[in-house]
């Protein structure tokens, strides 16, 4: 007895939706998935007609599906947006150069303009060179901080009004869990917001239209629509702390599929007690980027790399900011602390 699709009740069911467990045929699934993203965009009022939107594309499944769905919804519901692709080259051989080829193919398939910014041209360092200096433990910090600035700088070069990223429900839930485990109250408050608050110049607001889409559904969508994407794990990521949160979340999903949404719901309803110290937004004294300290994180990290002190930027370093700004040399003890690297 073939199972009928519970949506249209005519065709045979082709898959079981991970989010709800309903059995659906392909067309009903596509419609449900796209409709959910559309409702997310409309309910959160993410875009205004006439805006230029940059889609952060890495060639992976999330950003490919994002580009596809954004283009589709833009036409179907007449958002009136001008879409562009923006990509970041971190300089990881065997991973990033392959995925960039995918992005270039995407550009042709979706007929969208593309801009690629690279760490090499922005900072003078590729991730391969960074890992050689830093080791395998804290490299994700460097990559993440640099990428954020790279996206913003690329967006300014492209002159877009907003950036949208392919963060999905699993990513947001993992971030909530990770921030609880690390005790990061400041980020805990902000991480479930669907779009960032933007003040001042040099900062382009960014949003997550796929915030309530499960990773499994994104994979299913890409598979059934036969989209062209690149699927390999970053070679440097196995030791990241996020891996623990991810394994936990995957186990939770197998026990109760709605867990991912439950975690996001909890994250949205968390509130911090009054009187807890919170960082205040300012600007970096050296590069003018937004920062809550005297020097922004990427300036500190770059300084550490350039001086051969890889641990500068990992751990407490506010006291050293003034010294760095005024170009004073560090004491020998401080140098020794920052140099030691354990692999």
């Amino acid at each position: 007895m073939p199972v009928l699709c519970s949506g249209c009740k005519e065709k045979r069911a082709a898959l079981k939706r991970p989010k709800t467990g309903h059995s659906l045929c392909k067309e009903c699934f596509f419609w449900a998935f796209e409709e959910e993203v559309h409702r997310t965009i409309v309910a959160a009022k993410l875009f205004k007609p006439g805006e230029t939107v940059g889609i952060a594309a890495s060639g992976g499944k999330d950003s490919t599906v994002l580009a596809h769905v954004m283009k589709l919804l833009n036409e179907r519901y007449s958002y009136g947006l001008e879409l562009m692709l923006l990509s970041v080259d971190e300089g990881i051989t065997g991973y990033r150069d392959d995925s960039l080829e995918t992005v270039k193919r995407n550009q042709q398939q979706y007929e969208l303009p593309l801009k690629i910014v690279s760490y090499e041209e922005l900072y003078g360092w590729t991730m391969d060179a960074i890992v050689k200096q830093v080791g395998l433990k804290n490299n994700c910090t460097f990559c993440g901080v640099f990428r954020r600035q790279a996206l913003d700088r690329g967006a300014i070069m492209l002159k877009v009004d907003k950036i949208c990223t392919g963060h999905n429900a699993d990513d947001v839930a993992e971030t909530v869990l990770m921030n609880v485990l690390r005790g990061d109250i400041a980020r805990l408050r902000r991480c479930t917001a669907i779009s960032t608050v933007s003040e001042g110049e040099g900062v382009v607001p960014r949003c997550k239209p796929l915030k309530y889409a499960y990773e499994k559904e994104i994979v299913l969508y890409a598979y059934f629509k036969k989209l062209d994407y690149f699927s390999t794990e970053c070679v440097y990521s196995p030791n990241a702390y996020r891996g623990h949160a991810r394994t936990f979340l995957k186990d939770l999903e197998s026990v109760r599929p709605s867990s991912i949404m439950d975690v996001i719901h909890s994250g949205e309803n968390l509130s911090v007690r009054d009187g807890v110290k919170m960082p205040v937004q300012g600007t970096c004294n050296r590069c003018g980027y937004i920062s809550s300290q005297a020097l922004c994180k990427s300036c500190v990290l770059l300084e550490g790399l350039n001086r051969g002190l890889p641990k500068l930027g990992i751990g407490k370093h506010h006291r050293l900011h003034d010294k760095l700004l005024s170009q004073q040399p560090l004491t020998e003890r401080e140098e020794r602390k920052l140099k030691s690297v354990d692999f």
Partner: protein
Amino acid sequence: MCQVEEDYRDGLERVEVPSVSKKCVKCKEASAAVVIRAGDTYCRGCFKEYFIHKFRAMLGKNRIIFPGEKVLLAVSGGPSSCSMLSQVREGLSLNAHKKLRFSPGIIYIDEGGVVGQTVEERRRTVAELQAMFKATGFPFHTVALEQVLDLPSSVVAMAPSPSEQPASNYKEAVGHFLQSTSSSRSTPQDEEQTSLPEVPEAHTHFLQQLIGSAKTLTARQDLLNTLRQHLLVHTARTEGYGKVMLGDNCTRLAVKLLTSITLGRGAQLAQDTGFSDARYGDITLVRPMRDYSAKEIAYYNHMFSVASVFTPSLDTKTTDKASIQRLTESFVTKLQEDFPSTVSTIYRTSEKLQTTCRSSAKAEPSDKCLLCVCALDTAVGECWLENKTIGASVTMRTVELILLSLTTDLKSLLCYSCQLTLKDMVSGGLQRITYRHCSCKLF
């Protein structure tokens, strides 16, 4: 390692492995007997002092327990609550330095019926515990969980709290108490001989059906917690106690925090894991053991012979993935091995959270969840999850549609995570009957 704002010590030094031949870090004279954290070695005497001091400091810092007040100690028989019991006993003994000043009572809730224990086993456990309670001299109450079926519906309502008692009044109250008791000697507490009343088998059977109507172990545990809390609060109210002390330790609370997040209880985190929980109005739940890690309690119980009785619960001997609570517990304990500061970081995070309420602190009773009595985190009538999910209307089968209309009223009165528990319960014929009983009790 991965904490925000963490300071790294100089690497490449030889790490000193603490061994028993080292000296105690506090008194620096006696030889060390126990290692609490890496680098903290204590001798017996200093450890005992440290342990007792933490308990007093916790109570003294928060100034919630007023002198002369009646406090109910919820003892489950496990190491944490038995440790709490022994701390209270020591604190109240006449020769204690700065003795505590409240009158405690003990309550033990017998949950053997839910777990499937035989009547013989239950009687044996209760007898063992009662012997322990008698030795303390405090009045004790033994209550079977089956009694929760007979509770009046007022248990889920929030009763008005007594007049505000700000901190300044605390000092006056202490002074007043000292004056009144300075002349008279404290009378010995009379022991109440409350043996376990005979529980009719039909009640046990019905309770098992109710718990069993939840399809997943997660929902069952959630439901059991709710029922247990209701019974605790009801007993405290009828016996005239103003406060209830729970024996949750730091490790258990860290697990509880993560579990609450995964169950969708983010809005109620501060009440679930904070020091005091005032959601019931007239009864305040207090957690004085929340600063102790499970390891410290285990060491203390072993070194100073504090007895405890093991009672099986719903998730004893189950696999890691049997329920969300079980999974979170194994996750935290495994992570703690690699990153020893995990539990304390989660604990510190919980201290910085507060309750989100959409209305003010003195919320109307209609704004509280029916099952867990916390402020609602979903607008009445709105369904957060279904707004984000297509398919509720598209893919409903006819049988479930009837049930949906029955449950819509109940769903709108529950908070997000209690809605999830209810969802796991309602489907199939038996569940409809139990649902009706449940709703009759609640209405």
